[in-house]
Symmetry: C2
Subunit: 204 residues, 2 copies
């Protein structure tokens, strides 16, 4: 495993500039699935995208950047695929930890995350809850690797409308931590529930 | 739920052109997380990305396109978030169905899908296996909505190396179909296992 000390750390100005670029690229991703411009224009844009990629690749770091947060040496994966502000494919899920230890996020998913027409892909719900459950375990003071993740799909989760996800650690047993989470639709009904078990590495 | 007949259907030429654009945008997504060009250049590229988005948005369909496949009216979600050739955020996971009904994919994930440094995000593994299990259930002649998905993480899944995912339906009970799947690392060892239960809609 790569150690975080091998990763670049960015200052606030760098994070802000790259996050703005990331946001524009997210909009481009969405425009691709909606576009119906002519094929000549599609080809022209394609070539210009390739030129921009080459410009960004003119100076390239091997690994995506992390930033240190907190005096305990905790790192935040800025380019993670769930909510990473520097990852253009990440759904915009910013997870906060409430005083009672609940991990919570409010977000709206666009059509890039669609499974059945009109609804969120079940795997996207799993990905978001996996991340949220990990944050809840960490907030509990018992971070660990995900050992199991059990999803229960109660009803379809709509996209294009505000959703809430929340979760928290429920109990620990030795090195194991259990946590529950769910996604709640705009009508207040739970659409998906998840339970995860995390195992703390033995060298901690 | 939106019916597939409300979605645009594309011809082969259109799919090819949009898939090429999508592939270039995927490369741009990856370049964003690796770039260390100066902040002036980041800002310049950002503005050019926005201009390209506006060009694609000059003609816009409300919903992403589907294509019909097969005489049975089956549709393929070309812009789905797992393997969708027209979705720039989709990991490049092309799922084939073998003669014995096994759904199988060979793929390599890049750093956009990273969780712990050097390894695939557990939620990405869940997303890929959710999709693969659905294909296996459909190949079994018993498609349905995912009711449960149970993930078991055996060891970390590396990114940047070839992976195999495979799964198949194991049994049916009335309207329920059960399927198992796993991801296998380059050393031949299983990294993640999953079991899903699908429920066929009552109106089928």
């Amino acid at each position: 495993m790569l150690e975080s000390r091998e990763r670049a750390s960015l200052d606030t100005e760098q994070v802000t500039a790259l996050a703005e670029l990331t946001e524009r690229v997210r909009e481009l991703n969405e425009a691709v699935v909606h576009t119906e411009v002519g094929l000549d224009e599609v080809a022209a844009v394609r070539d210009e995208v390739a030129a921009l990629t080459a410009r960004l690749a003119a100076a390239r770091r091997d690994h995506p950047p992390l930033v240190g947060v907190g005096a305990d040496g905790t790192v935040r994966h800025l380019a993670g695929p769930v909510g990473g502000v520097l990852n253009p494919i990440a759904p915009p899920v910013e997870i906060a930890v409430l005083p009672d230890g609940t991990a919570r996020a409010e977000f709206t998913l666009n059509v890039l995350y669609e499974g059945p027409p009109g609804f969120v892909h079940g795997g996207i719900s799993a990905m978001i809850l996996d991340q949220l459950l990990g944050v809840a375990a960490t907030a509990n003071g018992t971070p660990g690797m995900t050992a199991t993740l059990d999803m229960r799909y109660r009803r379809p989760t709509p996209h294009g409308v505000p959703l809430v996800a929340e979760g928290r650690a429920t109990r620990t047993e030795g090195r194991k931590t259990f946590a529950d989470a769910r996604i709640i639709g705009p009508d207040g009904r739970t659409t998906v529930e998840a339970t995860a078990m995390f195992v703390m590495p033995q060298d901690r």
